[in-house]
């Protein structure tokens, strides 16, 4: 019994102890659970906080991305506008200008549909010039819709106004609602194309992407594009006009050139006939002249008997005039020969100074008679020229004789020379009466004589200077005169090195 009682007591105590230990364990566990719960709560709070922060990050990130997207869109738009402008400016063909608006440019601007119309004033209707993003039937449908309410569209051109999905003008509200229906687009920009002259028109760009939100930037880009199209049309039309007028001008020049060539050919033929005529007449004249001069000379010798004084005087005249006539006929024949190329210039190296001196010797009597000083200002070592000696001497004789003829007594004649770029220039200056300006151009023409006192007194054929000109030109040179009434004349000519 005692053992049972002790066992009971022990069991009781043990149970009690176990309960106490269990309670302690439970309490501890409870503490742990509470701590874990608290930790969990803390973690949840942290997660919630983190989530809140994540929300802030996401919202900020979204804003940043939208700004970036807008910026990207603008940069892309500007970039493609620049490339499109460059493409448009490469053509001066009106028909090609609108065709430059290719699909990829439009896409970069944020659109996929476009069409352009020009107003045909005589026909009083719009004409379709370009379409992208529409099939032909759709574009034709749009064109007919536009023409059925053309006044509204013409007003945009007249008012130089751009209409778009974001236009806020109440007066345009109804029209703004119609445009997307006509063009089958959710968002659009419709801008006038306004060249200063000729047909004006409209450029439409649009998208049926419902997510696209147009802004002022888009509207402005399309307006700039429309302006550039207007400018390009203007340039093309101006170019076309200029080109046509140039073509007309070229045609006229061609026609005139043809006329002139024909006239020149005629003149050359006439000139050839004249030369032939002079040549044959001169030949015909020379034979009887030779006889006349021969008989006159025989009569003057007195071999056929003495001649009365008055007959001798008249025979003298016949003889002198015959000489003049022979001289004249010879000159004419020479001119005709040179003109027709029948006389070949026998070129040889000549010393200018020696020739000038030789001719001055020949003319010394006339120089002395009029007390004219002849100055030959040609250096000893002046380059020798290549020319036909006898012809060149005739040039000097003619020019110096003329100078002597028109230089008053005690006057001065200077013969000088200098090298030019491609040859030699010779100047023969006198202190004579000078040549009127009006006569300067004609002086080298055949039979032309300046109307002055000297010519009225002294006889001449009017062939000397013409012959000189022909000889100089046959050597490849040029001849001209500088003169002023009362200040003398300077005859200058050039002979090229390779002459």
């Amino acid at each position: 019994m005692i053992e049972t009682g002790l066992l009971m007591i022990f069991l009781l105590v043990a149970s009690f102890a176990a309960i106490i230990i269990l309670s302690l364990v439970i309490v501890k566990k409870m503490d742990k659970i509470t701590a874990v719960r608290a930790e969990g709560q803390k973690l949840k709070s942290s997660l919630d906080e983190m989530d809140e922060q994540a929300k802030l990050i996401v919202r900020t990130d979204m804003e940043l991305n939208k700004t970036q997207e807008d910026l990207d869109k603008k940069i892309t738009g500007l970039y493609s506008l620049q490339r499109l402008s460059r493409a448009i400016s490469t053509t001066l063909e009106e028909g090609q200008i609108f065709q430059m608006i290719e699909a990829h440019y439009l896409e970069e601007l944020g659109f996929e549909k476009a069409c352009a119309f020009l107003w045909d004033e005589p026909g009083k209707h719009f004409e379709l010039n370009m379409q992208t993003g529409y099939i032909r039937e759709e574009a034709e449908g749009i064109l007919s819709a536009i023409n059925s309410q053309k006044d509204k569209f013409l007003n945009l051109i007249k008012d130089e106004k751009t209409l778009s999905s974001i236009t806020r003008s109440p007066s345009e509200a109804a029209f703004k609602e119609k445009v997307p229906v006509i063009f089958k687009a959710a968002s659009f920009v419709l801008s006038p194309v306004l060249p200063k002259e000729g047909e004006k028109g409209l450029l439409f760009v649009g998208t049926d992407n419902g997510e696209t939100v147009l802004n002022e930037g888009d509207e402005e880009l399309v307006t700039i594009l429309a302006n550039q199209l207007g400018q390009a049309l203007e340039n093309a039309r101006l170019f076309d006009k200029t080109w046509r007028s140039q073509q007309g001008l070229e045609q006229k020049v061609e026609e005139r050139t043809r006329d002139l060539s024909r006239a020149l050919a005629k003149l050359e033929a006439v000139s050839r006939r004249k030369s032939d005529f002079i040549s044959s007449v001169s030949h015909e004249l020379r034979t009887p002249l030779t006889s006349i001069k021969g008989y006159a000379a025989i009569l003057l010798t007195g071999k056929l008997g003495d001649l009365p004084k008055d007959i001798r005087e008249r025979l003298d005249k016949i003889n002198r005039h015959s000489d003049e006539l022979v001289h004249m006929v010879n000159d004419l024949l020479d001119i005709a020969r040179i003109e027709s190329g029948k006389v070949a210039m026998k070129k040889e190296p000549l010393n200018l100074k020696l020739i000038a001196e030789k001719i001055s010797d020949l003319l010394s009597v006339q120089l002395k008679e009029k007390h004219i000083a002849l100055i030959i200002d040609i250096a000893d070592n002046a380059v020798s020229i290549s020319a036909d000696r006898s012809q060149f001497e005739r040039v000097f004789i003619n020019l110096l004789s003329n100078a002597i003829k028109f230089t008053p007594e005690k006057g001065k004649i200077t013969v000088s020379s200098h090298k030019t770029g491609d040859g030699v220039q010779v100047d023969i200056a006198d202190t004579g009466c000078g040549i009127p300006e009006a006569a300067l151009l004609s002086i080298f023409e055949e039979f032309y004589r300046v109307d002055n006192a000297v010519n009225q007194e002294v006889k001449g054929t009017g062939l000397g200077l013409s012959l000189v000109k022909h000889i100089i030109e046959a050597h490849g040179g040029k001849i001209w005169v500088n003169s002023k009434i009362g200040s003398g004349s300077t005859f200058s000519f050039t002979i090229p090195n390779e002459a």
């Binding site: 997660l47 919630d48 983190m50 989530d51 994540a54 929300k55 990050i57 996401v58 919202r59 990130d61 979204m62 991305n65 939208k66 997207e69 990207d72 940069i75 892309t76 699909a103 990829h104 896409e107 996929e112 992407n209 997510e211």
Partner: protein, 397 residues
């Protein structure tokens, strides 16, 4: 033996001329080899049988597969409104077969996948198959369903890389090319076997943000509830937008902040774009979203996106471990194109950095198919969004 390849890209306005131009360029690069397979990527406007007939007439008896794309990626750059032709000439030691299934939406994705697998396996009875490439209409059938069907027949760990064809961001109609025909609502593909090496790199670059959540109710590609509340509430809370504003900004939100699915046993998150928000607060995703999946909101930047491209290229290159690389195919998400904007070309430049003179051809997709962890490419293939999948391939020497 090397695989001879030739790539041609053309953006000529006349589509037939462009197709001719692309094939002629490709044939020049292919030299005298006979093309056995032609892979064609083009902008949607090129999707006409006449184009494929032109290619066939110039490329001989080559099998033709391909798809439409927002833009073509190639060594020549990124081209919208263009056509690209990749001509491949294989040595006798490489086996391949292409096939196509139509009306995949009628057959349901899974069944269509199985049908396609059956056709692809034709002639591969005693030959080990190595890799499959699929182009499908992701607008008609969720890419995930198609993969599941393909894997039923090809094997759970059979490496698959694929792309859901894209259009010009209208999300209206995509095209698949097979032989001389153009299809929509279709899937076409090719499988390779024999002495054929390949390596795959796939990455997206998006990082998880905010607290983890769980999809508590979903069906197919529709998330009904997250943490017991309408799915859209998560996005409303994060952006502080009402439903209308959220719907309006959906494209940008979907590109920048997709849903990240945590897949058991995988390190990477699988991304899901948001296609639409229903009035009851459900979110329609591009790809299946299994219930009870742990999810996070994901965030990405241009830099993280480009870094991911670098990692994917590196993985593909490392995977080849010095083996012969004859060509590189790139399946790049259109979302990345949108996110990168003017910097889209940098992604291509990064890929070229790793593969130097190896010809590269790629397309933009509405979804990519590939194993999650590319280092272990014999893993289960998933349907991805927002990723860049880079496939390096070559014949065994």
């Amino acid at each position: 033996m090397s695989i001879n390849i030739g790539i041609g890209v053309s953006a000529l306005k006349d589509h037939i001329e462009a197709a001719k131009d692309a094939v002629v360029q490709a044939r020049v690069n292919l030299r005298s080899s006979k093309a056995g397979l032609a892979i064609v990527f083009s902008s949607p406007e090129f999707a006409r049988p006449a184009i494929l007939k032109t290619i066939r007439s110039l490329a001989g008896s080559a099998q033709i597969i391909g798809s439409s794309t927002l833009a073509v990626l190639s060594d020549k750059g990124i081209h919208k409104h263009a056509i690209a032709v990749l001509l491949l000439s294989f040595p006798d030691t490489v086996y391949y077969n292409s096939a196509c299934v139509n009306n995949i939406s009628l057959a349901q994705g899974g069944r269509a996948g199985e049908d396609l697998a059956d056709k692809l396996l034709y002639g591969f009875k005693n030959i080990r198959r190595d890799l499959g490439i699929i182009f499908s209409d992701g607008l008609k059938v969720p890419g995930s369903d198609l993969i599941n069907g393909l894997q039923e027949k090809l094997g759970r760990s059979f490496p698959l890389a694929g792309a859901s064809a894209s259009d010009n961001l209208a999300f209206k109609k995509t095209f698949q090319y097979y032989g001389e025909e153009v299809f929509s609502d279709s899937a076409c593909g090719v499988i390779w076997g024999g002495k054929f090496n390949f390596a795959l790199g796939i990455k997206h670059g998006w990082k998880p943000l905010g607290k983890p959540r769980v999809i508590t109710r979903s069906s197919g590609n529709v998330v009904h509830e997250i943490d017991g509340e309408p799915a859209v509430k998560v996005y409303q809370e994060y952006f502080s937008f009402d439903l209308a504003r959220l719907k309006k900004e959906l494209r940008l939100i979907s590109t920048l902040y997709p849903i990240g699915l945590r897949i058991p046993g995988e390190k990477e998150y699988l991304l899901r774009n948001l296609l639409a928000i229903e009035d009851d607060g459900s979110i329609i995703c591009q790809g299946n979203v299994p219930a009870q999946s742990p999810i996070r909101l994901m965030i990405g930047t241009k830099e993280s996106c480009l870094e991911a491209t670098r990692l994917a290229a590196l993985e593909a290159k490392r995977g080849m471990a010095g083996k012969n690389i004859n060509f590189v195919l790139v399946f790049d998400s259109v979302s990345r194109y949108i996110l990168l904007g003017r910097r889209a070309g940098e992604e291509l430049a990064i890929i070229k950095e790793y593969f130097k003179d190896t010809p590269v051809l790629g397309l933009y997709t509405y979804g990519e198919q590939a194993p999650l962890q590319s280092a272990n490419y014999y893993g289960k293939a998933y349907f991805h969004n927002q990723s860049v999948a880079i496939l390096a391939a070559g014949g065994q020497m």
